[in-house]
Symmetry: C2
Subunit: 315 residues, 2 copies
């Protein structure tokens, strides 16, 4: 039996795991990214983690079929190059070549959201679906597209930047420098900003108490207070659902996938949140009375999606 | 040598042509659609046009390899069904089956914008490009997507509705019933509305004189006056360019194609208009400093794009 290593590289930590052909993680390990280091050093850490997890799983290098690396940013998967990643301070780094100076094994590199989308359609909640969109609602908004069972990343991996589609011309400033991006409305960061704004306006809102209990305003503050019937919180949640759904509608009207998978921190809020989004999308999709709108479900691989998805690049 | 028939079905007229393997039209003919008729009658007219053009070209049925039909609306090309077309009053019409009651020949059915995109990448200004987006700026905004040399139309042909991506939440009302759609800002219809609004506000604008000379306010009114330095017209054109470019940016950030092709009535305004759009897209695309932004060019097949594109379905 062959095993696949998946490496999930983030700005804070690098996670590596050994995955079997069914998507099960046999062993995993984490190390800090220390992104201020050179790309060579970061890639050496990836390799060291491989050695560690192989040892942990009582395997040898000969048991491993391939190594998959999932990274944030623009990834040219055909060439194995991370063209640009703000979180990793990488710019045109040939990860494939550099990694193989340590270990001569098939190496695959992909964008992390794309990897997660692949993992979910192979082993997660989108299992068996040939056309899927995954979105992650976290610090930013990530998108991954599976078309005909394969990752779609645009020319040279420069596409699939769904977080930066404009949903409101001249609207909120986005981290990318533009205005009105979906990410500037639908990320956890945006939700926290929207929550704080509503709290300023409504000093009596339950959100103040919720935030106090948790020590800070988070992506959960408005959701928690809205479940208690707090009107300003209900307003924040209703608007946030509309923001998430508006971007999804753009993707639905273009791709009309078999399924939409929602992941990232905010998705943990629960199925009731996903149902609200689905309701809005169904109501507003183009040809809503005639065409079928894809179901929207929660990602199921959770924190392991990165490892499993990266490993899946080698399947 | 084999020939291909392309049929371009519109709400007003049906055009049919015989196309050779190089994309040249050998003969063509037009008939009124009379869309109030039954689908059977409309499809019979399509067949009659085939007979006419074959005769016109001094060919016989045996010289024809296939018939391609391009239609507005939602087309399930795999099944040969026009699921919905407002212009044709068609709803779940199996065009393939019905056409073949007249003539037992390979028949292909596709959305008209998709056909035009295919035609342009095979024989027009996008020749040789594997990944292309075509947009048409006419009564509405149509979009066609070519991925890896093939039409991408989403599941059951229900996707690729780029005209109905939301670029301004809560914005202008669109013909589809939603608000803020790209079409509601970038179509010729929208441009005329924007022009009229500016004319009301500026009674001294040159646009009044231009409109008077042409007998009406058209999609050209603001462009003509802006070339003469009329400030309100310059403002209309500048904003319109921004509207067109904003929707294109959504598509660029998702697909990052090799080329973007602009067709439809407004594209005849000329290359200077296309250059303005290109400039805006280059300035605002995600990763603009690092990624290559695809060139934007005018469609070159003009009024024949529908016939050539439909015929290309059979190639």
């Amino acid at each position: 039996m062959k095993y696949y290593i998946g490496i999930d590289v983030g700005g804070m930590s690098i996670k590596a795991g050994i995955v079997d052909g069914m998507g099960n993680i046999i062993a995993k390990e984490t190390a800090p990214t220390e992104a201020e280091r050179s790309s060579q050093e970061v890639i050496k850490t990836m390799y060291d983690l491989c050695e560690t997890v192989i040892h942990k799983a009582n395997l040898t290098k000969a048991d491993i079929a391939s190594v998959g690396i999932g990274s944030p940013g623009t990834v040219n998967s055909q060439k194995g190059i991370i063209s640009f990643s703000a979180n990793l301070h990488f710019k045109n780094v040939n990860v494939l070549k550099e990694f193989r100076t340590h270990w001569d094994i098939p190496v695959f590199v992909g964008n992390d959201a794309n990897c997660a989308a692949l993992g979910e359609t192979l082993f997660g909640s989108g299992k068996g679906k040939k056309n899927a969109i995954l979105i992650t609602l976290g610090t930013g908004v990530g998108t991954g597209f599976i078309i005909d069972g394969k990752i779609y990343e645009g020319r040279n991996g420069e596409g699939a930047e769904g977080g930066h589609i404009c949903i409101r011309m001249g609207g909120e400033k986005c981290s990318c420098g533009e205005r009105g991006c979906w990410e500037a409305y639908a990320s956890a960061t945006a939700l926290i900003r929207q929550t704080k704004k509503a709290m300023e306006k409504y000093p009596d809102s339950l959100m103040h108490q919720v935030a106090k209990e948790h020590g800070k305003v988070s992506g959960r503050t408005a959701f928690t207070a809205h479940l208690e019937g707090d009107k300003p919180a209900i307003s924040v949640v209703t608007k946030y659902v509309k923001y998430v759904a508006t971007g999804l509608l753009v993707l639905v009207n273009i791709f009309r996938p078999d399924i939409i998978i929602v992941g990232g921190g905010i998705s943990h809020e629960g199925d009731y949140f996903i149902k609200k989004i689905e309701k809005y999308v169904r109501k507003h999709a183009f040809g809503r009375n005639l065409n079928r709108v894809p179901p929207i479900i929660r990602a199921s691989l959770g924190n392991d999606a990165g490892i499993v998805g990266a490993a899946a690049l080698g399947l």
